[in-house]
């Protein structure tokens, strides 16, 4: 899961000013406060007074920048860093070189995220409706809404305050959207109710008909798909992902859930709060996930099953039946992690050509 580790280091400078605005500088004391890290006792006054201008990886950070370490793999870079300060966990604190101020946190990645956002708070809306947008009758736009060029909004839709709709998005009739949503370019959104701060990345498809049809005497006959899609507060849906609307009930994505790119969510599916679905995973119709479930990349879940709270489904896993809360499964068909790797070892042993040594 990419969310569990920080960025890998690279040579170039981040935050190209052509693409990213930057605030600051900020004093080290402010950085430490945002990071939730106490400044080291006995820190020299000159250091304490220093101002920092931005964030950068260990190998390119300057004395005016704050950096970050979360992954043991990149520890060799710490010794050589020129960074003015570094956010990291207690385990690595004693390896920070003397010219660099350690900002030690229990959740360094979270602290890093907040410090980076301090410098780069992200886009805010530039209120207004682009003259090329096509706005239907009786559309309600909240205060400060930004509607980009060539957007289409169907009649009766309601867009919450501060929301940003990027170019070429298509918002269907009567869609309801809470405040501070961000709808990416080329999104198709219909038959849906969105909470606040929902983010749809470019090309996401939300609300189209589910894959439902019956075998008739002369071919398949489509079954009307009469449900909606509900995206609760703070849901994010990745680029080119697809979420079908329900057939007789709604497809529901719980508050805070994060869906990566190219994910498929079938009709009537329910995801709980703060689930994570990594790229190219698929969840078939009417399956239910409780809160805090993780589905890793390219995993597939068949329809009509139930996944318990905090279950973790591994990459490429094929889930064909219910999974208990807290379980950690992988393989196709899904099995506990330990069993999967035991199977791998057994099979390797059994098929080793005679005379070859074990590895």
């Amino acid at each position: 899961m990419r969310s569990s580790t920080g960025p890998a280091p690279g040579g170039e400078r981040p935050a190209d000013t052509r693409f990213f605005s930057r605030r600051g500088p900020f004093p080290l004391t402010r950085i430490a406060e945002v990071a939730g890290a106490p400044l080291p006792e006995g820190l020299a006054p000159a250091k304490r007074a220093c101002e920092l201008r931005g964030v950068a990886p260990l190998q390119t950070a300057t004395a005016q920048e704050v950096s970050f370490l979360d992954n043991r793999r990149y520890l060799p870079l710490l010794a050589r860093t020129q960074a003015g300060a570094v956010i990291l966990g207690p385990a690595f604190a004693d390896q920070v070189p003397p010219h660099c101020t350690p900002l030690v946190c229990r959740s360094p990645y979270l602290a890093w995220s907040r410090v980076a956002r301090l410098f780069h708070p992200g886009p805010s809306s530039r209120p207004g409706i682009h003259p090329t947008a096509v706005i239907g009758a009786d559309v309600e736009l909240g205060e400060g809404v930004e509607i980009g060029p060539l957007v289409v909004i169907g009649e009766g839709a309601r867009i919450g305050a501060g929301s940003i709709i990027a170019s070429h998005a298509a918002i269907g009739p009567h869609v309801v959207m809470g405040s501070y949503c961000r709808i990416g370019s080329h999104v198709s959104l219909s038959h849906a109710l969105l909470g606040a701060r929902v983010v749809l990345y470019p090309g996401a498809r939300v609300g189209q008909d589910g894959f439902g049809f019956a075998q008739g005497p002369e071919g398949f006959e489509s079954v009307p798909q009469l449900g909606r899609v509900l995206l609760e507060d703070d849901v994010e849906v990745g680029a080119n992902s697809t979420i079908d609307r329900g057939s007789m009930r709604d497809t529901v994505i719980g508050a805070g859930t994060r869906i990566d790119n190219l994910v498929q969510i079938g009709h009537n599916t329910r995801l709980g709060r703060c689930c994570v679905v990594v790229s190219q995973a698929g969840i078939a119709g009417s399956t239910e996930l409780e809160d805090f479930v993780t589905v890793a990349a390219q995993a597939g879940l068949i329809g009509h099953i139930h996944i318990g709270e905090k279950a973790r489904i591994g990459a490429q896993c094929g889930v064909m039946s219910d999974i208990e809360a807290g379980a950690d499964v992988i393989g196709s068909p899904a099995m506990p992690f330990r069993e999967f790797f035991r199977n791998v070892a057994t099979l390797r042993r059994l098929s080793r050509p005679k005379g070859e040594k074990g590895g």
Copy 2:
């Protein structure tokens, strides 16, 4: 396969009138006729005369609504339903509570589909060309065609009568489309000939170059992709699916075939009639599927192979060679279902730690 089962039950009411128009009410006799279900003998005249106003799942249906049961899993809901009538198979008929009229059918899901469509017949075209659409020279539009906002239609394209082209779709030059097609928002369609009643869901990509290139002395060199895409009558292509045009021959999707979301169809591929390809499956170039083949979710078929009629390819299956007609395969590499699950059991037995009991 999601098409084989009906909707799972849910608490909320379907067919939010903001999103779905509704016809009716209809008398029970009409419902029974559409369902192809005989009314029970000796049905009380008051019941026979009753009018129904819509469809709903078992747990929320009222006495004025018709409901549905197809999956044994949801049988407990039947006993408690308040529905006025319920469509179901003969096996469950004797469990219908007395206040509810059973409509017993051999194909309950099909019957349900038709009854639901009676109440909710779906969108019909609102003829006309939106003033923001960009229509090329010599485009032919059939009677009653609806062209949405910001659609682009290339020169010489022909759009059949009653077709609906949603916002932001791009129809390439000289594309031919039969009558009553529905093209979703943000579809890209080029180098293609479509039959009647073809449905492309939002973001489908049809007709772009296939992935063909040769290794040259200084890198890859693209091979011209000179074929087309033919989508026969009643083909449906899901959201964000991709169908490449052929290189030297056409890519052909047979009549009535249903393709779900995020599916990849490589160049020169041939699918027969009434195939089903579930989401995130991929079919590589030049592979041929006979009629009525099912490819489940996330399955992958390599190129240049042949899949016999009515073969069923399981979820996540990896097909590396021809499959016989009627075969039922799963696993990677693909093998018969029985063999796959025998393998799973064998491996579990062999790698069980000593002293642990069999499960």
Copy 3:
């Protein structure tokens, strides 16, 4: 891999003139020169003087057309072909019928590609800006650029000479694009620098935020994604594929690399030169591929690993750790090809029911 084999034969004629322009005719001598194939010694003067009008598959080619054979599977068609000339490898040369001129090459698919391109050189730009395009301030357009209808180009973007931007594409502010790029319809492109001759197919998403967030006390918190996407010269990205921009460093795709449809490339990922990533494969964040790596369809690579030069990763492979240069792996978890198929055989043998003969 579809690139390694030529087109499968089919009945219909390629290069429908509604969709493809054609140049020619060209004399056989010119064809042979482009193919890099010597004309057979002692070729009759009448044959040598003949003119060819196009390319076609073996079974439909006429005496005025040149055809191609690369795959032993289609050898029976060679005996019956009516083609005037055929491009093929030395192994098949003695099976060419007498009325057909063999054009024998060491790299027949490459030769074929060049000959096909001679007749069908592909689209060239029709310089100009469609009046419905929305062009931001300070955009720089090179000579001969074609901007299609309803394109949006953000402020400060630079589009290289001869580039073609198809309808509905969205080019973000300050994007830089080299010369002769082709951007397909509905592409979203932001935070990116492109070399020359980069091709993005319809619906590709390049430059959106990576999937990065930290667990906070009240849910996930997004980590600012401050890197860019660099697409070097001659990179191609398939339809509906997604390439996230980096978090602290850039996502980089090396020169000449080809990415198929529906592929996911995570943030900070590095691909070397002339890699091939086939459809529906996924590469998680911060993983690095050296040059000439092949990733087959539906394979998945976890994050933070390293793949050596010329490694070949099989279809549906699940790669959880570094792969050495030149390795050939398949399976999930990934293992050498030979080991994978030995495992398959072992398991089949061990789970064969008693009394059943080996197959």
